[in-house]
Subunit: 339 residues, 2 copies
């Protein structure tokens, strides 16, 4: 396989997040830009609420970056809903070229990779990446409507009600630098349990991470944080084990957005958070500000996605997964060479 | 809004198509690379059959281009299925970086645009764009299972059972050149009728086409063919009217992949063909060979997509649409300057 790691010279100018009530009550509740106490965001249906979260996230990111829609060359966006209607409807009023993405929970990272490659090479001056998920839309689409009160297994993750938007552009005036990107390949290791997506996605994260260390000649100790979004407790532990088997110990610097967004003591989400909105909101409002202040200096952000549909699982298929990697640094690390 | 037209210097090295029985029996039946007489392609479900068509299309395009998967830097692919499982499952065994796209029926054009921008700027040497649709998966997902024998309205289009794959790379040894691309914006003009997607998509095609002529200072007469995929007879007529209102007459050079793929006399598909696989298969096996021989010299290819879901339509929403434009020329036109 060809070298997949691409060096980039761009940055994230502004980012914003919108979350629901449960996320607001979690340990990161204080950092998110907007939240809704009833998860409806003034809309009559959950799907429209999710679309509204995408609109709010992008508008807030533009406002924080002192930018207008006409400053954008493109929007790259997606979500988990059938036909990605969260992005299509939420962003339809922006008069900006639109690229619809489907990367399941890796969508934020997929959008950041494409935006980075297209701004670094000068085709775009600025591009936005937007992703969202909503617990109520995801539960009824993938599992069963919340009203049924279906019991969840210990390995099940809790779909985050959240959206994140990122404005990618040149390095100057960026809050954090995007130094390189490594898109994932589709990995399927025989997991059929749609209530254990962490196990389905962990091998994809390991594949991408091992290729990254190999192609960049770096080691886990070169980074302050290696963060996946979203393997949860189950998948995160599997990833650490898979890496250890390969002789790469990431435990000291590893964390997962799905483990960070909820309190394990006071919020029983079983295996942690998931959904496109989880890694998007945590990166936008918790990790990027730390990179902006230099509290974090070198971060590997891996968006992980499980790309099955309920129908194809009913047809006996396994779960294909993907992990897209984005290497972020603070501006203090500008002299550090990734590759 | 910023200039959206981007000049590119790349080409399509190879392309391939896979279609079903009805498409094989149509006026273009002789040009497609592969076809299946039972539309199952050896699979037990329609969804798996569609995934198999994507695999066959990419493998055939690679074989025609005398390339292997390790020659690809990326695959950009999508389809109409929930969670885009046609692409994710059909292409999961290719060990190549994967970007999932959702552009509804504009997916082939969306993939070609991103592949063109990323190969022109040198990030990728070669990238594949793949898209598919299947009549049986689309009908039961969007409308009702074929077994119900639901009656179709005159404006309804027939979802093509087909897949197309394109290998984009440098200009040398290309069968056709990609000279410029113009990504579409999401356009929604108040159409709610999911059985009249041509009407929903025509305004998006007009918006993209008018911006293209404005930004490139070209006129319809500069092109041998302006082809949409897929507005069908209904949407195609609306597009021509919308353009005429703006003082731009495209009638002399206009056609639509959905009008070309079926015989109106012997195959009653009502308003013509649709689905990601329609424009992908027609471009891959009918239009590109004509560009390769010089029978066509300058072509504007517009992928048009309607990005609603059945659920959001049931919730009373309108249909947002998009049209992505790719400007193709034969190698004889290398000296012609687009912009």
């Amino acid at each position: 396989m060809k070298q997949a790691l691409k060096a980039t010279s761009c940055g994230i100018h502004a980012a914003a997040s919108v979350v629901g009530k449960m996320e607001k009550l979690g340990p990161l509740g204080g950092v998110f830009d907007l939240h809704g106490d009833d998860d409806r965001f003034g809309q009559k249906t959950w799907e429209k609420a999710e679309a509204e979260m995408q609109r709010l996230a992008l508008n807030t990111a533009l406002a924080k970056g002192k930018l207008h829609e006409q400053d954008l060359d493109a929007i790259l966006a997606g979500d988990l809903l059938n036909q990605c209607v969260g992005a299509a409807y939420g962003l339809k009023d922006f008069n900006v070229p639109y690229f619809g993405l489907y990367g399941a929970c890796s969508t934020a990272a997929e959008g950041l990779i494409l935006a980075s490659l297209l701004t670094t090479n000068g085709y775009f001056e600025r591009a936005a990446a937007v992703a969202s998920s909503h617990n109520c839309t995801a539960e009824r689409q993938y599992r069963s409507p919340l009203e049924y009160g279906a019991q969840r297994t210990p390995t099940a993750q809790w779909t985050v009600t959240g959206a994140g938007a990122f404005i990618v552009g040149g390095e100057e005036s960026a809050m954090a630098l995007i130094r390189g990107v490594l898109p994932g390949t589709v990995i399927e290791k025989g997991i059929k349990d749609a209530a254990n997506m962490g196990a389905a996605m962990a091998p994809a994260a390991a594949d991408t991470l091992l290729r990254f260390f190999g192609e960049s000649n770096t080691v886990p100790e070169d980074f302050d944080l290696i963060v996946t979004g979203d393997l949860g407790y189950e998948g995160g532990a599997i990833l650490c084990d898979l890496m250890a088997i390969e002789g790469v110990d990431i435990r000291k610097v590893y964390n997962d957005c799905g483990m960070m967004i909820y309190s394990r003591d006071t919020q029983d989400t079983h295996a942690g958070g998931s959904g496109c909105g989880c890694s998007a909101a945590v990166l936008a409002s918790y990790l990027l500000p730390k990179l902006a202040t230099g509290a974090l200096r070198r971060v590997l952000f891996l968006g992980t996605g499980a790309m099955m549909s309920p129908q194809i699982i009913q047809q006996g298929e396994y779960i294909p997964a993907i992990a897209h990697l984005v290497c972020l640094t603070s501006k203090e690390e500008k002299e550090w060479k990734l590759c």
